[in-house]
Symmetry: C2
Subunit: 199 residues, 2 copies
Amino acid sequence: MADYIESLQKLSEQFGRLQGVGRKSAMRMAFSVLEMEESAVEEFARALIEAKQLIHECPICGNLTDKEECSVCSDLSRDRGLICVVEDVKAVMSIEKVREFKGVYHVLHGVISPINGITPDKIRFRELIERAGDGSVREVIIATNPTPDGEVTAGYISKYLKPLGVKVTRLAYGVPVGSDLEYADEVTLGRAIEGRRDV
Amino acid sequence: MADYIESLQKLSEQFGRLQGVGRKSAMRMAFSVLEMEESAVEEFARALIEAKQLIHECPICGNLTDKEECSVCSDLSRDRGLICVVEDVKAVMSIEKVREFKGVYHVLHGVISPINGITPDKIRFRELIERAGDGSVREVIIATNPTPDGEVTAGYISKYLKPLGVKVTRLAYGVPVGSDLEYADEVTLGRAIEGRRDV
């Protein structure tokens, strides 16, 4: 039936393009929209456009923001001598939730993965070296995911930063190996920050 | 973090309002949007607005459509003497998928449920009686869900239609095809025995 209601089908396809949304869920979401007030649907459409237009990478750390600099970089109380290196913005969100880390971030937007053709120049690696090597940074905590690629990336970063006199640490293996930071619970993540070690 | 990216938070809340979407999924969807091309996001926003503006109830059967009449009612090959009564549009979609039913539909948009204060005048009951009683309808198949409220509604409809000389039938109850008798509940099994047929 829905195949014959063109505009419903189109909307369902749009939901189906989102990560992790299957065909049945997409159709259920499209039906949900029909049950909303027209003004609410317009608000939804506006939120889509606005998020896409306003959100960009922070020029300092690569985190997402809809301001000039991200909320962490523009917070004067954060310790600029302590940089936490993460793979993506979701990891920033996870660590921020713990409210334990008082430094700033550096989002790589990926990890080095020779098998997938991702070399250091394809991620924000050079920016990290420049940032961490300017003399004001005491310590870099590498919080890439505990996966083989994450480990390789951590090792690579460490090799470049140590000669610059920067202390390099790695999140403790409190986080289960092979998982994704996004799904780590807050206690585990808190312990992992507490127990970080030299690499 | 996302709490501080206002436009991302807003978008995530919009997704979270959809039926069956939790907080984490909503945030993942919002991130998906950021990864889309700007033109694709605009298309998504347009699909939302268009679906809401164009889709309405078919004036004949109550099914959804973005045309004047729904695709079933406007299909001249469908048998107008045979009406299948369903609770909602999703049921129409399910039955259409089978490609076995050649009649038309009547969507009640609910079931009679005294406990929830849903009386016959709150669903499209009067419209059904008018439609089925105009002399051109041979049979009405009641396909409300096999729940207590669905049963009450079926009985109520039947009581009104039979005096009008319309044949009233109900979907057969029984064990689902491909299932195991061991797992069938007693009521279903009881109905299946009751409704047994010659082979």
